[in-house]
């Protein structure tokens, strides 16, 4: 990671809060340079980023945040490019966060998603930002959701988050987006693939892209049969009185037996290279956005808030335990676990106790 380091961003001695205020004022007034700088601060997790996100958070929450995920080569970037075009025809400003993987070996990354999107480079109401995953698993970078929130606060009405090429279980985007689109390519799997747990479960909309290829219709009907029909059977016992002990997930997305209800995704066919099916996809996105204002959408927002706050709590807890006056004690407790003199649960209890002292 240290092989190619840039000097730290930020003026030595400058007050991060004051600098953040300058950048957020400019960015929310349409200054794209300031917006780009803010996104860099967020990506690098500088003190400016935290101060800026505190200012911007109340302004965010208006955009429709759409996650686009699927296997490498399924056509995510091409689909994003035509979605941008379709949304622009409707007069909407579009922000894109496009994530590609970082090398686990060198820390370097090749960010190639823009290649498909460059037709929109001259459009002032389109802002595309590539991000490297920087060691974060789950299909996103650790800061992707925060980057989307910055675009949201800067008046982009539609924010598309394109994940790295995913496999079966990189579902993190579902927690970052209002609507999750899972892209499939024809002939990528049979009905058994469609009923496996994981990525397809988090889809609000399933898109079979490359619709001009043989097998697209067949793949779509298999997915419909396995995802939509099965979910409908499972939803027959839906109710609002599920057992929610130990969970903050509201009962509205649980069945009577207290289990989360399966989603019933729409299954659409698109050909991103020709634009076929794209107006239908945008309409489906808008429908889902409408649904999202109540019920499952509200639950998803609460789950997202929980994920954000929990992650900050965990980070702050770790940082507190590493503070100079606690570090020696923390290290001693960890060493005791390493030596099998203390079990990890007791260690965690003791560390939590030191935070209360």
């Amino acid at each position: 990671m240290s092989t190619s380091s840039a000097p730290a961003t930020g003026v030595a001695g400058a007050d991060p809060a004051a600098r953040a205020r300058v950048l957020t004022d400019a960015a929310t007034n349409g200054d794209r340079r300031a917006l780009a700088r803010l996104l860099t601060a967020v990506e690098n997790r500088t003190p400016i980023a935290e101060a800026a996100l505190r200012v911007l958070y109340p302004k965010a929450g208006r955009a429709h945040i759409v996650g686009i995920t699927g296997a490498p080569g399924a056509g995510k970037s091409t689909l994003v490019a035509v979605l941008i075009a379709e949304a622009r025809r409707a007069g909407r400003a579009v922000g894109v966060v496009a994530v590609d993987p970082s090398s686990p070996i060198t820390g370097g990354a090749l960010l190639g998603d823009r290649v498909r999107m460059q037709a929109h480079a001259a459009d002032a109401d389109v802002f595309i930002r590539s991000m490297a995953s920087r060691g974060h698993a789950g299909g996103l970078a650790a800061t992707s959701a925060a980057a989307a929130a910055v675009l949201d606060a800067c008046d982009f009405d539609l924010v598309l988050i394109e994940t790295v090429g995913t496999g079966q279980s990189e579902v993190e985007v579902a927690a970052a987006a209002d609507t999750t689109v899972v892209l499939e390519a024809p002939e990528m799997g049979d009905e058994i693939q469609a009923i496996k747990a994981g990525l397809l479960e988090v889809a609000d909309i399933v898109v079979v892209n490359k619709g001009d290829r043989p097998g697209a219709q067949r793949t779509a009907s298999q997915l419909r049969a396995m995802l939509v029909a099965v979910a409908r059977v499972g939803a027959a016992d839906r109710g609002h009185h599920g057992a929610t002990e130990g969970s903050v997930v509201p009962p509205s997305i649980l069945t009577t037996r207290g289990r989360p209800r399966p989603k019933q995704p729409e299954v659409l066919i698109t050909t991103a290279t020709s634009g076929d099916g794209i107006p239908e996809l945008l309409a489906a996105l808008n429908r889902h956005r409408g649904l999202g204002r109540e019920g499952p959408g509200a639950a998803a927002r609460l789950a997202r808030a929980q994920a954000q706050v929990w992650s900050i709590l965990a980070e702050r807890t770790r940082a507190s335990l590493a503070e100079s006056h606690r570090r020696a004690g923390t290290t001693a407790i960890l060493q005791a676990v390493a030596d099998h003199e203390l079990d990890p649960f007791a260690a965690a209890d003791r560390l939590l106790a030191t935070l209360r002292e």
Partner: protein
Amino acid sequence: MTDRPIKVLIAKPGLDGHDRGAKVLARGLRDEGFEVVYTGLRQTPEMVTTAALQEDVDVVGLSILSGAHMTLVPRVCRLLQETGLTDVMVVIGGIIPDVDADELRSIGVAGIFGPGTTIAEVAEFLRANVRARD
């Protein structure tokens, strides 16, 4: 975070379609630990500038083999200046005759890399010359 990777935009402005070199360099810099944004072929100077702005890159690398460098590079440099991207380093690679080097340097090109340059040389140059930014 002081050890964030250097972010480099690799673009091919103009009409020549020879992008193997740009792709090999993009891949090579990835292996050297850089974050490389690759925008592909047939980029206008405006597209290059917008990408550099939105991506907030440290370096813009232009690959030109068509002989159009004395038209394209000054336009990119001017647009970057006009957009306020004065702290972005511009380097070029491809077929750039020695007689053009001085003029290109005078308009702000920090490095010129011709045939035979190794990826390690480019990486070393960038590490040594990318400046601290606010």
